[in-house]
Symmetry: C2
Subunit: 209 residues, 2 copies
C-alpha cells in the first residue's frame, strides 16, 4: 500500500518510473511479486527490475525471512522481530546502482517513520545519510535523490492519499504472514486496518478474521 501510494504520487508529479521489486525470501514473496506485476500493468510501467536476494535467507535474523521465527501478533516497544537487518539500506543501494545505470535522478521509497513499526531503516535521518553516501560513492555526474513522500504521514493520511489518487488498493498487499487472505492480526495488517478505519474507509482486500 505504501509503495503503491508513493508510486502514484511520483506518477502524478509527471515523472516516469522504473519499477524495482526485491525478492528477499520474505514469507509473502509470491503475493508481493503478483502485486508488483499487477501494479506495473495498471500504471503501464514497462521498465521493471526483479532483483533476487536469496542471500537474505542465509542472513535470517528476522521473522519475515526465517521460517523458524513466528510472526508476532502483538508487538511491544522497541524494534520488533520482523525487522530485517539493514534491509532498506540494501534495497536503496541496489536501487542506486540501477538509477546510476539508467540515468534516473531519484529513488522513491514508501518508507513511513512515525506511524510504523519503528524500523531504524525507515527514518528520514537514515535516508538523508544514505543519500549523501550515494552521492559520494557514484560518478561526479550522477545525482540521485532519495524521495520518501510518505515518511512523515500517518497511516490514515496514506489511505486518504491513496483514495484521492485512485490507487488500486485491491492490488496491494501488506500482510506479513499470508498470501491468499490477509491475517488481519500481524503488525502490518493492524497498521493498515487502523489507517482504513481512521480514514472512514473499507479495505478492499480479503481478510481471514
Amino acid at each position: 500500500m505504501d509503495s503503491a501510494t508513493a508510486l502514484a504520487l511520483t506518477i502524478a508529479s509527471g515523472k516516469e518510473p522504473i519499477a524495482v521489486h526485491f525478492d528477499y525470501r520474505q514469507r509473502t514473496e509470491r503475493k508481493e511479486r503478483e502485486s508488483f506485476g499487477a501494479l506495473c500493468d495498471f500504471y503501464a510501467i514497462a521498465s521493471r527490475y526483479i532483483i533476487d536476494l536469496g542471500f537474505f535467507a542465509a542472513i535470517g535474523a528476522s521473522a519475515l525471512t526465517d521460517r523458524s521465527i513466528d510472526i508476532p501478533q502483538n508487538v511491544g516497544k522497541g524494534i520488533p522481530i520482523t525487522y530485517v537487518p539493514f534491509r532498506n539500506g540494501i534495497f536503496l543501494s541496489i536501487a542506486a546502482a540501477i538509477a546510476e545505470k539508467e540515468g534516473a535522478s531519484e529513488i522513491v521509497i514508501g518508507a513511513v517513520e512515525e506511524d510504523s513499526s519503528g524500523y531504524p531503516d525507515c527514518r528520514e535521518s537514515f535516508l538523508r545519510a544514505l543519500e549523501s553516501a550515494i552521492g559520494l560513492g557514484t560518478r561526479e555526474t550522477t545525482k540521485i535523490a532519495i524521495a520518501a513522500p510518505l515518511v512523515h504521514l500517518s497511516k490514515k493520511q496514506i489511505v486518504r492519499e491513496a483514495l484521492r489518487l485512485n490507487v488500486p488498493l485491491g492490488l496491494t498487499w501488506s500482510c506479513y504472514q499470508n498470501e491468499d487472505k490477509a491475517c488481519g492480526v500481524c503488525e502490518s495488517c493492524r497498521l493498515r486496518l487502523k489507517g482504513f478505519a481512521l480514514a472512514d474507509s473499507i479495505d478492499p482486500i480479503e481478510y481471514l478474521l
Copy 2:
C-alpha cells in the same frame, strides 16, 4: 591482494574475522571464489558467507559484469569502464546486515583511494558517509565501524605490508580478465605489478605476458 592484506592486518590486530565473498558475476568469479576459499583455509576462518548477487548481470554497465564490453588495457583519465555502479555500496550494505546479525563491530574492506582506478566508491569520504548511514539505519545497540586499513596506502606500501605479514600472495587474484594466468595488461594487473616492482619484489602468481 588488497582484501587479503586487509584481512591479515585485521587478524594481526587480534580480531576474529567472518569472511564474506560476493559473486557479482564478474568475469573472474571462479578464480576469486577459489582464492577466497584458499585464503579462508590458510587463515583457518570457519565463519564464511558466499553471497550470490546474480542481479549485477542484469544491471551491467561495466566491463567487469557485461561480457559485451571489453576490458580496457589502457585507462585514460576519469572513471574507467570497469567501474561497477555503486558496487562497494551494495557490498558494504550487505556486510552491515551480516555484521548486525552476527554482532560484529567492524566491516573491513581493502579499498584503496589514491593509487587506484579512481572508483568513487573507494574514497574514504564515501566510506565515512556510509558508516554514518549504517549507524542510523540499524538498531540503536548496533555499532558498526567501516575499517579501510589500506585506503591511503600506495600499491608499493600494500605489497610491503603483505610481505611483512607473510600474506600468501600466491593465493590472491587481481586480474580483471583471466582466471588461469593473469593477463598482465589490464588496469588491475598493471597496478599490482607496479606495486611489486616499486617494492623490489616478485609477484608469485603466473602471468601470460
